[in-house]
Amino acid sequence: MEVKDEKKSPYPVLTQIECKACGRCIISCPKGCLEMSKEINQRGYHYVVYTGTGCTGCANCFYSCPEPNAIEVHIPKKD
């Protein structure tokens, strides 16, 4: 699991093993901050990774992903 712990900024949590490499999240990301890895996961698919910057927490990736357990979007609450 790749977690980008950038304080106060939203970030996606992409579960590598659940990704089937359809790329729908990459298409829907308005900031272009998701990309397909060159590696494959244990089930044999390439998987999407977060480039590390740019996430606005819009959750487009979550809603366009067909897998229930592949993507979460974390949005830190501002105090």
């Binding site: 949590v13 093993i17 729908r24 298409i27 698919y45 979550f62």
Partner: protein, 475 residues
Amino acid sequence: MAEKIIGRLSGLYKEFPRKGGTAPTATHYCPGCGHGILHKLIGEAMGDLEIADRTIVISPVGCSVFAYYYFNCGNIQVAHGRAPAVATGISRAEDNAVVISYQGDGDLASIGLNETLQAANRGEKLAVFFVNNTIYGMTGGQMAPTTLIGEKTTTCPTGRDPRFSGYPIHMCELINNLKAPVFIERVAISDIKNIRKARRAVRKALEIQRDGKGYAFVEVLSNCPTNLKQDSQESIDFINNVMTKEFPLGNLRDNSEEAESFKRSVSDFSIDSINGLYDLKNDSSPDAINDPEFGDVQVKVAGFGGQGVLSMGLILARAACKDSRHVSWYPSYGPEQRGGTSNCSVMISGELVGSPVVHSPDVLIAMNRPSLEKFADDVEPGGVIIYDSVASDFKFKQGVKAVAVPARQLAAKGGSERAANTVMLGVLKTLGCTKLSDEVFYQAIADNFAAKPKLIDLNHKILDQAAKWTKENIK
């Protein structure tokens, strides 16, 4: 640090043990398939609206046959196309249930089209999510009712030709011809903009169910990356640029504000209520007594439909019942009783009745000539034929007693020409050929007309007059 997390949907299971296999947390759907997205939208709404505990999702036949792997609520899997009928049964039996029917294009618009339209027309409390991807997925890419003109499938390999296969079926528009549906919308699982519109429609359909307001139909244009051989971008383009030309997106109806919640009745299983339906307190006959010495009396009553042939037989059966005899009544039925000849058999016996059908009557009551022609020769030697005197020139076989009765005149004199059957009953009673007591005939008439007390007096009077006539005219 506190976080808001988008992505943990209580309406879907975290793991899918019903699926089994080596990937217990992944769906069985192909990469990029729209089913998973729609599952998430439904699962999210079920959780947010707090209805999952009382929701039942119906899994259809097709790729989503295994929808029950995923939805964290009640699940029922059904036969191909029958989901809306099953949904009707669930909804009627469990009024509090939120019922979701999730169906593909073959299931909903082909084999199950009747169930689909009829459930919509009844306005069942039901949310239907109709996934239209123009093709049969599970069975290997055959032509669907929604396949586009010119689109190639494994069963229209040169493209759908309307001269042989007709045109794509527009389900939203069909359903929009019906009065009952509360909500009808066509959405698309394509780009994120359309997915978000779909999310709102799904939520609206389920709010209508939460509030028990009636029928909601959401058609979801989706993809089949495998059978249509499209990657995600090609899928999105196909839906947005090609499918929507044939199936325009948008809301066709939203009556959710005006529609009122409705409740169905609560079942009453108490014995008092059921006994009340049959008025058992007031309407009960004595049980039959075994009396072999009584033998049996076989009666045939015949006439044309409308002469009260069947009801006369029933009154006779009631009389026998009141007399503690074993009895059965059996009618001619079906087309015969509509305008043609009509007849019934009444068996009165001191023992259990065998066949209820009278082939060789001891007594024939014939209200018209065709009835004599049909049955007079069947009467047992020594038997009695009571017939309306309009059939005056009929030739009877030897050994039967034939009694001509001016039934209609007597009935008219008594106050109702329609009561000719009661006249015949009076003659039958007075001749004594049924071996029943006089009294039970009066009781039977009273029971028969219990709902119309005026007719009791009238028919009792006619019964008396018929008895008088018989005594004066028949030796």
